[in-house]
Assembly symmetry: C2
Homo-oligomer: 349 residues x 2
């Protein structure tokens, strides 16, 4: 765009300020951490507003781990395409409007993308929420505590159904979501233990936020400290990290505990196959339940009666593979792992 | 024990038959598949019956994958100790009784262990259930369809809460539990697809048991065939296998699907860290739920109101790490993965 071709003539400098939109474009999908050039700053010209559109100046951008997921590939949202403005939540102020729902100085949050200006309209891809001006409260609260992190902590803790006196462990506990999830745990009457990566963070969540204990996972003896911090075991894991940290928490869980898979940040910058399946569980909002039949012993008779009826009426058929001789049990056990049996495997003694 | 020291003199041969109890003793914890010698056949002398004890002759032993778990270490039950009779479910007939609840020819199922005879008493470790004689039904049904496998399939499918028209996938579908779980799925009105390891097994579950489709995971194109067999995706995974098979199923799950972790047989004979966490989920009967905040959009206002109140009354505190400049977003994103921020990370544009 040459200056000479600009149609407005006067006040070029001011016009230039408002017609140029700096954008961070996704140029390449990062491997591991973001490398220089994965996101590239480019200047675009602001589009002319159409009817039912408004222009908003982005003031704050929310930086969230999930952005790394959006860069990697399709997940719960389609991947950001190469060459597109990188997706991000932001806080913006309307500076010009041809939309009846938005007027100048209205303030909105939504998927602004990483750019100076965003066009606000009714397209499905961009839904913006107007937010009020609250005295003594910073605008940025609508990106954090009253925004995506607060909401995530709130609904995650709703799924967790914490009961008074239960023990909640939160990983990435000094992060935007974890710090609120833990405080909601305190409001609900839980013993709350946070896991974080520096002593300063641990101090903050314990002394300022009121967590009962905090464990720095960079200390070599952190697993022992975590165990000591949960004398009654762990009932709820509000999981933001995955991998080794999640496994250490799982090892201390009580029977019938609940794991709220909110994030798996330890896996976002590396290819870890052990995290892949939990990633699917998270992204597809699956519910995975482990169960052991012995817990149902009081209801065995009820179930056997139903099974017996089904068998009698031919609704359930079975097949047995019978091996003769006590001495052949070891071979029979191995048959299970090589696929040697069809249906029930039995040794006749 | 020398013959000469035997107190009864007459009918030595017959007495010998009934005083010797062959037992399979756990001699070493297997690595991978069972090796010769992990279980060793030894002869023990039958103990004298005490008051409130009965002696049962083991007729059938149930061979189950979970036995391999019991050999490996503590899980939902303590590991079988080295030198002990290996734990197993079995079907036995009372041959002698000094217990008021059991009389000769009564038939029982329970943890008989891998041996010819078991002493039945009221000790907590050994609880035996009397089973009836049913015309035209083999005794072994009490180990399979009306025993541990039928019960496991029944309660697992209860947790799955199948709805009419949903798609259920069962792995190890020609196994004792999987074959019944799939048939219960049919009874509940599901489309049922089984995964098994031979064409014969696939034919059996499809033609005899009425599964809608069956996929042989040993065919190279099995994942494509599985995808083709579930045109509406998968709502329920009745998981018996874990590992690669489970991951292929997870990839085809519908949003908000349910995974019933019943077994992870692919991991029982190998050390696979990617299975370890799911093993913990299974053994501890955990419920793992993935969630994505976007699903809760209709309730954002309700939650934000509550969060706002908590913030106003000081029940929730927050902290912001603010980075200035759109051009510094890439560094800011990387801060998330190196732990550079405390609380909410925001870029001021």
């Amino acid at each position: 765009m040459s200056e000479g071709s600009h149609p407005h003539g006067l006040a070029t400098a001011e016009l230039k300020m408002t017609t140029v939109n700096r954008q961070l474009i996704l140029q390449s999908r990062p491997k591991g951490m973001l490398a220089p050039g994965d996101l590239q700053l480019k200047e675009a010209r602001l589009p002319e507003l159409k009817d039912r559109q408004a222009l908003a100046r982005v003031k704050y951008l929310s930086i969230d781990p999930t952005m790394r997921v959006w860069m990697a590939g399709d997940s719960y949202l389609p991947a950001v395409a190469i060459g597109e403005v990188m997706r991000a939540f932001g806080f913006a102020e309307i500076v010009e409007s041809r939309h009846p729902d938005y007027k100048k100085v209205d303030r909105v949050t939504g998927l602004t993308g990483l750019q100076d200006y965003v066009v606000v309209d009714s397209s499905v891809k961009q839904s913006f929420q107007k937010v009020p001006k609250i005295p003594f409260v910073s605008d940025t609260v609508f990106l954090g505590t009253l925004g995506i992190n607060g909401l995530t902590a709130y609904f995650g803790m709703e799924i967790a159904q914490p009961k008074k006196g239960e023990t909640l462990v939160v990983s990435a506990a000094a992060g935007a979501t974890g710090s609120i999830a833990g405080q909601i745990g305190k409001i609900r009457g839980c013993r709350v233990v946070g896991i974080a990566g520096t002593d300063e963070k641990c101090n903050w969540i314990r002394k300022e936020l009121g967590f009962d204990a905090a464990v720095n996972y960079k200390h070599t003896d952190w697993k022992a400290k975590l165990a000591a911090a949960v004398p009654n075991g762990i009932d709820i894991d509000f999981e933001n990290v995955g991998g080794e940290i999640m496994n250490a928490v799982l090892d201390l869980m009580n029977l019938h505990g609940r794991v709220i898979l909110c994030g798996l940040i330890s896996g976002y910058t590396k290819e870890d196959p052990s995290l892949a399946s939990f990633g699917t569980v998270l992204v597809k909002r699956l519910r995975v339940e482990g169960f052991i039949i012995l817990d149902y012993a009081p209801r065995f008779m009820e179930a056997a009666t139903q099974l017996g009826q089904w068998k009698m009426f031919g609704k359930i058929k079975d097949h047995e593979t019978i091996v003769e001789g006590l001495e052949r049990v070891p071979d029979a056990i191995n048959m299970l792992f090589t696929g040697g049996n069809t249906g029930k495997l039995i040794v006749k003694v």
